[in-house]
């Protein structure tokens, strides 16, 4: 049994059932023609059927393509780097509006570049700030995107 494939297939089945349970609450037909529940119901059934097939292929790998390769997950260090990137992004989204784009981007770049193994002080000092300024100039100044200013709002 391929646990990852079976798990993914089961997730599809669960999503399909969830969607189906909601879809039956919407009118399937309105005045004899399809209503808002028509397509969601068929989509939900499609997800469930695909999920069942995928789960079956995970439980009985012989059903899968003969040359199908197993899932190649990253090593521990790879997981750590992925976690670092996602964690830093999530933290940045939490503080983005409070700290503003410039400060958040500088902190994000510095923490990720450091976390990914750069130890040069020159790089850690210039790259994060330089990137934040360059992106701010491109988007906020040139393309006039109102990026959040946060704690630097007093600069106007």
């Amino acid at each position: 049994m391929n646990k990852a494939e079976t798990g993914a297939g089961s997730v599809f089945v669960a999503i399909g059932i969830w969607m189906l349970l909601d879809a039956i609450n919407f009118p399937y037909l309105v005045d004899g023609v399809p209503g808002p529940g028509f397509l969601p119901l068929w989509i939900a059934l499609g997800i469930i059927v695909s999920g069942v097939v995928l789960t079956a292929k995970g439980i009985w790998p012989r059903l899968a393509m003969p040359d199908a390769e197993g899932v190649v997950w990253p090593q521990a260090a790879g997981w750590w780097r992925v976690g670092l990137m996602l964690g830093a992004m999530a933290a940045s989204l939490v503080v983005l509006e409070k700290l503003g784009f410039m400060v958040t981007t500088t902190l994000f770049m510095a923490s990720v570049v450091f976390g990914l193994g750069f130890r040069s002080r020159w790089v850690l000092a210039t790259v994060p700030l330089g990137s934040a300024v360059a992106l701010y100039v491109i988007f906020a100044v040139w393309l006039r995107v109102p990026l959040p200013k946060g704690m630097l709002a007093f600069f106007g």
């Binding site: 990852a4 494939e5 993914a8 599809f12 999503i15 399909g16 969607m19 909601d22 919407f26 009118p27 037909l29 309105v30 004899g32 023609v33 399809p34 209503g35 808002p36 028509f38 397509l39 969601p40 989509i43 499609g46 997800i47 695909s50 999920g51 995928l54 393509m65 199908a68 390769e69 899932v71 190649v72 997950w73 990253p74 790879g78 997981w79 780097r81 992925v82 670092l84 990137m85 996602l86 830093a88 992004m89 989204l93 983005l96 509006e97 784009f101 981007t105 994000f108 770049m109 990720v112 990914l116 193994g117 750069f118 990137s131 992106l135 988007f139 040139w142 393309l143 995107v145 990026l147």
Partner: protein
Amino acid sequence: MDLISNLSIGFSVAFTPINLLVVMLGVIVGTVIGALPGIGPVAGLSILIPLAFGMDPTSAMILMCGVYYGCMYGGTITSVLMNVPGESSSIMTYLDGYAMAQKGRAGPALTIAAIGSFVAGTFSVVMLTVLAPPIADAALQFGPPEYFALMLLGLSAISGLTGKSRAKGYAMGFVGLALAMVGLDPIGGTPRYSYGHLELLDGIGFLPVAVGLFGLCAVLVMVDQLVDIKVMKTTLREMLITKQDIKDSAMPIARGSFIGFLVGVLPGAGATIATFLAYAAEKRISKTPELFGTGIVAGVASPEAANNASTGGAMIPLLTLGIPGSGSTAVMLGVLTLFNLQPGPLLFSKNPDFVWGLIASMYIGNVMLLVLNIAFVPAFVAVLRVPYRILAPLIAIFCVVGVYSVNYSVFDLWIMLVFGVIGYLMTKMDYPLAPLVLALVLGGQMEVSLRQSLKMSEGDISTFFTRPISGVIMAVVIVIVLWPIMKRFLIKPVVKRLNV
């Protein structure tokens, strides 16, 4: 005459200073993105949406198209000089391209690839120029059943024919359609799957999903491996080719251009399949098939021509019918909808400046790429030396700004992050991402066409099969969906009997 006047309108738009600048920016950025291993055209296009969103629609699409065909050129640099295909459509080029580099012929490999790409790219734009108007005219006769059938064809082809597993493709397509159902019902206005969240009443935006699935996912894949790859050096002098090289590459380029264009037009096929077919055809025709893979000119020229020719082909269903046939064109369709432009037959009559300006810019972009990819290869190689440890977080920030710049919504950023994680896990498990995005982009329109068709026919589903055009399209859809069963129970027994 019409064609000439249309093209003159187009060139008058494309030759404005801002559009020339934009096409140059697009092709340069596209070449760099194509050259970076792990970031293909779809991810590149998704990451660059914010830049496009700040421009007027014509310039924005010129930028997007520049990035699209620039990516095709860029993948070659990595294949030849780094022993790694920049993206999937460069895999076949890499077989002979790197072998040529090992023989000390990296320069000629890159020059032949650039010439082949230019010829094929230009050929495909000529075909686009000639074929698009009559197709758009014919499509004016299409009603909701034909549109529904076409969208179903695009979706079933991309779900069923891309990726290693059909079941995975269909599952992703269905999930994309499910996401398209979130928000207000497009006909009656009933809220669906929004669970009281105001942000979800407008539906799940294409942008955060596409940027998360492709852009952020590419970043995560980049950091999970984080391999520093050595790049071979090449100089301008080494780029010179011989008369024999030109002779050896002429016919493979012509054949690759033709195959690439045809495959590009087909929904679900795309540049990668075009290169595989072109390479296989060249090997079959060759008098010395055993030399393929050892570093021969035809092995570089043909797939390079094919992947570039497919870009012009892929633009035909997008611009004339509003049906994208691949992940890249699905992203472009998403960008058009952000500008409230509905691609399809009416685009040619309502927005001629836009359509012909875009097509004319593709001629200019191909010339620019030829020059850039012969004269400035050393500069592109220098970009490849930027460490991934810096590049990855920079691209992540680009994704954040891109999604934020459209609705100024942090909620959209969270959606992007969630879909980045989903995209990463799905990529690791070999689930194709393009069907999900295509289904999300087409889902709303598909539902409207389906319900309008059934309203017209008073609920009679046979309307899709009795109208000639939609009937033919639905027959193709059925063949695509039932192909594995037909192959097993109808075709294999017949072939077996014939062999006996």
